[in-house]
């Protein structure tokens, strides 16, 4: 936390690295066309991680039940599609809106307490929704999951194909658009206020900022984005399972975000990519060992690699510029 770099005002200009980052998916499409399904999964989970980054990395609310909103979005979109409303974009929007509504209601319970209470309330809300979806099998399909969705063409032109090409571009486009919105939010005065909440929760009220209202807003927005990610998963895979609401999903999401680095927008995306690619290779070998390595990785990140991959890179760059100016 030293140096003038950390404390400068937000600067919304696009950096070269960011532009390169967003060109990567286009390269991937042509180079690794066998992995399109995995790549679109990464986009979706990355979007989900972005939503957690908003409330955890920026506003500092520790949530152990973020999958609740992902699941709400997924079931909303899934139910719409399986009952004849197959138009993707409106389904996506509705998924986001319903999740945001649930998040809005939940936020009043979450923002009341501090760390442990927040943790428990988010965990409890997640578990409650999981149980509800489990017991309401007549609507959600319960353990068997929800299937039998018929999706219309995206924008009335592109039909979802077996190779996942449309799903790839569709997920990427949604991710990019939502990312733009979130990026703009984070660099706005409101975003600056969120950082203020995180680093100085006692000083914010002193300068006349309402902590409560900001937390409610950011939690609602985060839930909405998570809902869009869930809806995206439902539409592209045309299946919604109970696991979309599970505690494991919330925990894994947190792992990805921390692995990539919190409070950096790109952390969730990078973390999701690393995590999913590693899972794709390692989990095939042995799912039990995979869990062990993930656990070890988590312990190591917390102990030694604070800030995750992006945090490490930033520290490295800072050190290099310092040496250069010497």
């Amino acid at each position: 936390m030293t140096g003038s770099q950390t404390y400068r005002l937000p600067d919304g200009r696009w950096q070269k690295a960011e532009i390169v980052f967003w060109l990567l998916p286009i390269v991937v499409y042509f180079v690794a066309s066998d992995y399109l399904l995995l790549a679109s999964q990464i986009f979706i989970v990355g979007l989900f991680a972005l939503s957690l980054d908003l409330i955890l990395g920026y506003a500092g609310i520790v949530s152990l039940g973020h999958a609740a909103f992902f699941g709400v979005g997924a079931y909303t979109a899934g139910l719409l599609a399986s009952h004849g409303w197959g138009e993707p974009l409106s389904g996506l929007l509705l998924g986001g809106i319903v999740a945001a509504l649930v998040g809005w209601v939940a936020s009043f319970m979450v923002v009341r307490g501090r760390d442990l209470t927040q943790l428990m309330v988010t965990l409890g809300i997640g578990l409650m929704l999981f149980e509800a979806a489990n017991k309401a099998a007549f609507i959600t399909g319960g353990v068997d999951g929800l299937s039998g969705m018929a999706m219309d063409k995206v924008l009335g032109i592109f039909e979802f194909d077996l190779y996942g090409k449309v799903a790839y571009w569709y997920s990427l486009a949604v991710l990019f658009v939502v990312f733009l919105v979130v990026r703009r939010t984070v660099y706005s005065p409101f975003g600056l206020g969120l950082r203020g909440l995180h680093y100085g929760p006692k000083r914010m009220p002193a300068i006349g900022a309402s902590v409560y209202r900001r937390q409610v807003v950011v939690f609602t927005v985060g839930a909405g984005v998570a809902g869009i990610a869930g809806a995206l998963l439902a539409q592209t895979t045309q299946f919604v399972g109970l696991d979309s609401l599970s505690f494991h999903r919330s925990a894994e999401l947190m792992i990805m975000l921390v692995l990539g680095g919190t409070g950096r927008l790109y952390g969730g995306l990078v973390g999701a990519a690393i995590f999913m690619v590693a899972q794709n290779y390692l989990a095939d070998l042995n799912p039990v060992y995979w869990q062990f390595w993930i656990g070890l990785l988590l312990v190591l990140v917390v102990m030694f690699a604070h800030g995750g991959v992006l945090g490490g890179l930033a520290a490295l760059r800072q050190r290099r510029t310092k040496e250069a100016t010497k």
Binding site: L56, V62, L64, M109, R112, G113, R114, D115, L116, T117, L119, M120, V121, L123, G124, I125, L127, M128, E131, A132, K135, F247, H248, A251, M254, I255, V258, V288, Y289, Q291, F292, I294, G295, L296, L297, L298, V299, V301, V302, M303
Partner: protein, 288 residues
């Protein structure tokens, strides 16, 4: 009808006693060190596995395995506390949560590797099985045994905390670490011993609970919510609060599953959210 209700109440109290036994260690670590230790269930599971292994591989009788489970998990606790946990006392809750989730993942994978993914069988001795007829009620002997043990453990804990020198040191450290250290209390040693005691009690609870809670590698995650619940509702660091919360949750859980199986676990989660919203610092907690 009334007898039925009393039976549910009795089972609930027995279940709550177990939750108390396992949860108390978590409550103390949270109250004393402000450490959100999600891996606490893993200590309980370890205790269970120690019991099962001693019983089935070495032929130790069930009752004799319980102290072994206590000592083994307490030792494990103190080693982990000195090597890993103590580095994170000053860390943010997020780091603590992530660290302990990581530890739990590793424990679950390790247990699956060593003992396999299936439920572990436990053979209770003859005199602890069956039922007794008491005051017009048929009560499970083992559940009665659980309650008796927990009454003894609670009495011992209250004595330890309220009457002994070590207890005074613990209370002082909970109230104000800096001042206690200034008065010459070796706070680090108090932390380590308390952590060991808490882990040991969790191990004991895990061993005792095999028959009631079951034992398989998913144990730490399956019951994590319940232990956290007991602590969050009771208020971290309070023996009385933890006991009350454990009994209330135990009774509501058993009653919920008995009278309204369709909504099952829903009762307990709803109760938790309501209680937490009403009492953000727990029933008997320090002011947050």
């Amino acid at each position: 009808m009334i007898g039925n209700f009393l039976g549910v109440l009795f089972d609930g109290i027995a279940y709550g006693s177990l939750l108390f036994l396992i949860g108390i260690g978590l409550s103390v670590t949270m109250g004393l060190m402000n450490f959100v230790n999600l891996a606490h269930g893993a200590f309980a599971a370890m205790g269970g596995y120690v019991c099962v292994t001693a019983m089935n591989q070495l032929g130790v009788p069930f009752l004799a395995t319980l102290p072994v489970a206590f000592i083994a998990t307490a030792l494990m606790g103190v080693v982990l506390e000195r090597t890993l946990y103590q580095r994170l006392y000053k860390a943010t809750p997020l780091d603590q949560v992530l660290f302990s989730i990581g530890l739990t993942f590793m424990a679950v994978a390790g247990m699956t590797y060593v003992w396999g993914p299936t439920q572990q069988p436990v053979r209770l001795p003859e005199f602890l099985t069956g039922q007794v007829h008491l005051l017009g009620l048929d009560l499970g002997v083992y559940r009665l045994f659980l309650i008796v043990i927990v009454v003894f453990v609670t009495a011992a804990l209250v004595y330890l905390v309220d009457r002994t020198r070590f207890g005074a040191q613990v209370r002082a450290s909970v109230d104000n670490q800096q001042a206690s250290a200034g008065l010459g209390i070796n706070v680090n040693r108090v932390f380590a011993l308390t952590f060991a005691l808490g882990s040991g009690l969790a191990g004991l609870g895990g061993g005792l609970g095999i028959d009631v809670l079951g034992l398989d590698p998913s144990f730490p995650f399956k019951y994590m919510v319940y232990f956290l619940l007991v602590v969050a509702v009771g208020g971290a660091g309070s023996i009385k609060g933890t006991l009350v919360a454990a009994l209330v949750l135990g009774i509501f859980d058993v009653a919920g599953k008995y009278y309204a199986p369709q909504i099952g676990a829903f009762v307990i989660y709803a109760l938790m959210v309501v209680l937490l919203v009403l009492f953000p610092a727990g029933l008997y907690g320090k002011k947050a």
